[in-house]
Symmetry: D2
Subunit: 411 residues, 4 copies
């Protein structure tokens, strides 16, 4: 089997888990929103991305693709994409210089639109390739970090075209934060420890979207859940959903399992480690590995046994208690499980595909700046997802539209 054949198989497997993006690709093939347009993209070169590229190409786009991270490049997928007519400038494991050369090569197509993941391509456009700026009508950026950079550029008047922040849509947040993180976090904990959750006390630190998802899943697996929070409104909501709420210092002696998901540092510290039960398990589902004070754990422990189970280290305290740290305090759902199911990527990339089509249509009328994904796109993605699941919903009658409208404007 040739490399591109293996890649094609992977892409086709991914496509089957991405029914929404597939449906969008089919619609693009009819509507051809990108006829005559050129797109330069800097994204992870994976099977899921290939499905996105396929949808854009079906819509008429000429595409050049560079990798946003050489480590994630799947060479067989790159080969399949080239076979399909996408100009791919990417290879697994290339050095830094090659990485940047690839981005330049992608830009050489003189794009009308750009897709970015981390802002490197847009940054190069605004510094080294300003000659191309005149042609670029707009872009999409996928990451939160990239968006922060773009907002700063916009604030300083440096950003030269409209960019859609495709990371945050309601449908994506549902799939990703609440239900995705909820399930994958518990999945990671079970894979790492094979511990039974029914009858255990799980302390969830943080009751944002992710924390809520983790709490729901822990409860759904039979655990008693205690929530810690620093925000009174979220804490109150947790109590109204039936959870017990305590400060961490009071939760620490009760927990069998601790999951931090706050986005903040030092959520579990030496003070808490000192009073935990023998056998307590510590896991982090927040983005950075700063939530559990691993350094304190290292300093306190009289002995450390690494790898007593996959992704599980055992810290023996001087008083004999044993604490189990999962995934070294890094994201337990990515490290010990497999991160987001394809259903999540389907939502994100579908919003991205529709955002690019919207940009293609509206770009001439948009000022430079950072834009949220237009609300109708969110509804479109949700509608396509329902359709792909075989679910239909009601449609407003004319009388109902009138009624809602009349009520909203007052009588």
């Amino acid at each position: 089997m040739e490399l591109w054949e293996s890649g094609e198989r992977h892409v086709s497997w991914a496509a089957r888990s991405m029914p929404v993006l597939t449906a969008i690709g089919e619609r693009f093939a009819l509507e051809r929103p990108f006829d005559g347009l050129t797109i330069a993209a800097c994204l992870h070169v994976t099977a899921e991305t290939a499905v996105l590229m396929g949808a854009l190409k079906a819509g008429g786009a000429t595409i050049a693709l560079a990798a946003s991270n050489p480590l994630s490049t799947q060479d067989d997928v790159a080969a399949a994409l080239r076979e399909y007519g996408v100009a791919v400038h990417a290879r697994a494991g290339v050095d830094r210089a090659t990485y940047y050369r690839h981005i330049h090569q992608a830009l050489d197509v003189e794009p009308d639109l750009v897709l970015d993941d981390g802002c490197d391509l847009v940054n190069i456009l605004h510094t080294e390739r300003t000659d191309l700026l005149g042609r670029v009508g707009g872009g999409c950026e996928e990451t939160t970090t990239g968006i922060i950079r773009l907002r700063q550029m916009a604030a300083e008047g440096a950003l030269r075209f409209p960019v859609v922040a495709v990371n945050d849509t309601r449908t994506k947040r549902m799939f990703d934060n609440r239900y995705g993180t909820g399930q994958s976090t518990l999945d990671g904990i079970m894979r790492a420890t094979n511990t039974m959750l029914a009858g255990r006390t799980v302390v969830v630190a943080g009751f944002g979207y992710c924390g809520r998802g983790v709490a729901e899943r822990a409860k759904g697996l039979g655990a008693r859940v205690i929530v810690t929070e620093i925000d009174a409104v979220k804490a109150l909501d947790a109590t109204l959903q039936g959870y017990e709420v305590r400060p961490m210092a009071q939760a620490a002696p009760s927990g069998d399992l601790f999951v931090t998901v706050t986005g903040n540092r030092d959520v579990i510290t030496a003070e808490h480690l000192a009073v935990m039960k023998d056998g307590a398990i510590l896991a982090n589902a927040g983005h950075f590995d700063v939530e559990i004070d691993v350094r304190a754990l290292d300093e306190l422990a009289s002995e450390v046994h690494r790898g007593v189970r996959p992704n599980t280290d055992e810290y023996v305290m001087p008083d004999g208690r044993r604490l189990l740290l999962l995934a070294e305090g890094r994201l337990v759902n990515l490290t010990a499980a497999e991160g987001h199911p394809a259903a999540v990527m389907d939502m994100s990339f579908s919003a991205q595909a529709l955002a690019v089509a919207w940009l293609a249509r509206e770009r001439s009328g948009l000022e430079p700046g950072v834009y949220d994904v237009p609300e109708h796109i969110d509804h479109e993605v949700a509608g396509l997802k329902l359709a792909a699941t075989g679910i239909s919903i009601d449609v407003l009658t004319e009388e109902q539209e009138d009624y809602l409208h009349s009520w909203r404007v007052g009588s």
Copy 2:
């Protein structure tokens, strides 16, 4: 027992269910935010309102109170308030002329601040009593309808002082829409029908905050829940929470109980009534009685037995099926149960008390217009509610504050 004594007992009973407002009253007594200020209020003259009046008076206010609806006036509470030093212009069951005279009398105190419930007092101020406008520094309005009128006034440049829309705060919405409506709707249905919910199929039309609450409670009582929606994003969320989603036409033949909570008209129509099961129960938890097409029910039925149970009418169809309509299609939680528990009013009136104090402090710097309740007030109410429930939460350390801040501004 004198009238005022009975009133005092009712107020004292209400106060015990309103710990947050009581705590705010105690704080006001120390801080005296209203010293030297006069407040005119047009509100339902009930025991709960009396607790609010008590808090404002404890804070130093001179108060005149008129009824926002003569039907809800509790004369014994009015007597108790007068005994306590509030000028009450209200009596149960007065006619329209007296109603307006009472509002004028309340305005005669020449208020610095006003509290309104339906915009009548503010309206009179802007039409018949414009002489007083110079003094009024701001107001609060409780109802959605009132807010719509105020926004129109603001849009036309007619509004002459800042008004806080106290109806919508996150804490109030939690207590009121999701958890309050959820419980009281099922409570009303059980009181009306004494039907067992475990094992029944409940169709919930609408998955907004209220519909979500109704669905959660029906599921919590053992029912299988089917959701209908017209919004794809909400419909998708319903499926992700484990509910089945269908159009009403497909849900109609399956339901044992139907609850409409959409805010729209004609949610259940002749088409749906035609295919429902014998014995199906119809209830509405939306604000207006337009969601179930009661006229169609009347026209279709060959026989109607009113009052077969409290708040329950039986409609016999020509084919022999019997449909049960609760509360004539009006709000089932208010008609068949008792509406909001005191805990909900505690949240609303606490936000209102803090909003008035905020107005008292900030009014000189505020432009005329409609203002949302400042976010910190929501946090304050939530914090006081947690404290009243004996729950404490974590507090950010300085390092954590710095970390969050640094992250938010980017690196």
Copy 3:
């Protein structure tokens, strides 16, 4: 409207909530299992009982009915039954002598089979009317108390015919104990207090079938639930279902609402009352009013306000705390709500109807003694209930029957 017409309307309304018993009646009309047989019954003369009488009569029985309690007799139902051809010896509110005369009159028909509710009729048969014993082929007894008496009679060799204990069947226990008591207990508490359950801490004492039902419904309404138990296996099961388990002395300071459902006395005593929170609510869902020590409450209180809400008394402790006792410590689901929904009676009376038919068929081969309801009757009732609900299930194929059989006997 004549008395019997009113009765007929009530019976017809009840029949609509008893689809299983109605279906059995229809089958009896075809199969005529009681042709030529006479039945004497001593039961509550209510609309539900009338549906049972109708089913037996449809099956060919000649029936005489006396009241098992004069207080519950519905005179209009009695009139309707007489109109239908059942000999009813019952009138609301008769004195003791008349009560017993009525039972004798019912026995005068010289029954082949008897139905009893509390063992009075069977007792009279074995003492004052032994002349009739030769003819009686069997009976049914509905109450637990009656069964205890019958077992003693059987143990002493005094029981002269087979009696089926119709109270305990799996389907009835499901409907009655777990789901019926669960819902009606919370229903009663909401009607009495209108308190919001979301966010409250509910202490459920006892984790038998009923306690489990109460805990599930409290959790389903958003409460945090703490369970107390004296049985380690049940306590362990409660933890595995996600509940917190504590001794009452440790639960007492945490509860907002306490529900006793243990079947034992002194579950909540002075020791616990002393440490409860201000505003705590006390309710009993156990059969007798001995679970909460009401006498201790009376002695401890410095003041008692009866009826502050329907079925709610407020006890003021010397330290100012106020405890709320519902329904004077008697069954809260019967006192403050309406007890069992008709769906429960449908299960019980259906089992009874089938048990009588079984007795009619098998009585000649049965020794005197107390019998459980044959298992196939339970399956039949469940099957009819499913059918009435429009639910069908799978049927074993011949190969599957063989497989199960071969496996059970070993290979």
Copy 4:
């Protein structure tokens, strides 16, 4: 590190997850229930079994251990046990002849008590080593299959000593069937497919203890659950718990995921496969691989892709639909996840340890036959488990004991 050291580490890790058995071992060390007694055991030679051996030896027993299956023997654990003074006759991967020789060697100690797992040792005792029968006072058998053989022996009068069926205790069934199988089945499905369960429709075939556990966990992970059953009572219970119940033929077109857990064959057949959705996932959690008709799947498929994910085979139907079969239709929780967590083995082996002690004490008074685990042992295990979890429960007062007793005997 020597072999026995590695074994000791494994045993010590297992012991930490088996707090109940550890506590029993500590008690045995004080009470010495096996002083002077010899035990021959034929069990899986694993770390968990080693903890059991340790408890018996601490209680004074002389032990000889053979393997009940050479494939599961952990040689390092065997080495550690020998070091500890247990005579182990076992080695990984030995042939059939050696397997039986090992059992004979274990019997050579002339045991007073025996532990068996599959009845091979007891069988040899009753056929080839009848000389030893006079001394054997009793035994324990772990497996259902073994118990079936023993009951046949007892029925034929061939069994010569009392045997306790240690497989079925309430605590073990809770941990094993309901909560253990429930979690591990979903765990296996997530590991195999990484599919998101929220929003999916899961069809659970069978609503026994295991099926109930699977349904609860699927619901707890956000799925909509449909149950199929052949038993009306169980089906009714499923509806009362809020599940939808359908025959498999009607469930088949709706499911995204199917889990069979009936104990019967042909639960999913060609007829059902023909109407399933593209992408449907099939998993079995029943003991034998006969529930899903894999042969039909093979015959129907036009193409099969083995291993598209770990433990996942893709069957392409002629009409293009793709069905995913997990673990070749064998037990998905054992194949794709890790089977029972240690907490389950802790319950089983604790019951076994206490049953052996009971036999040691009571054996002289017991007739040959198969005995259930005495109920008090179940309570003891549950009590120790609660204690190990730090949970205390209430204890009956003398008055309460009296009350219960008086009530039970009647008044």
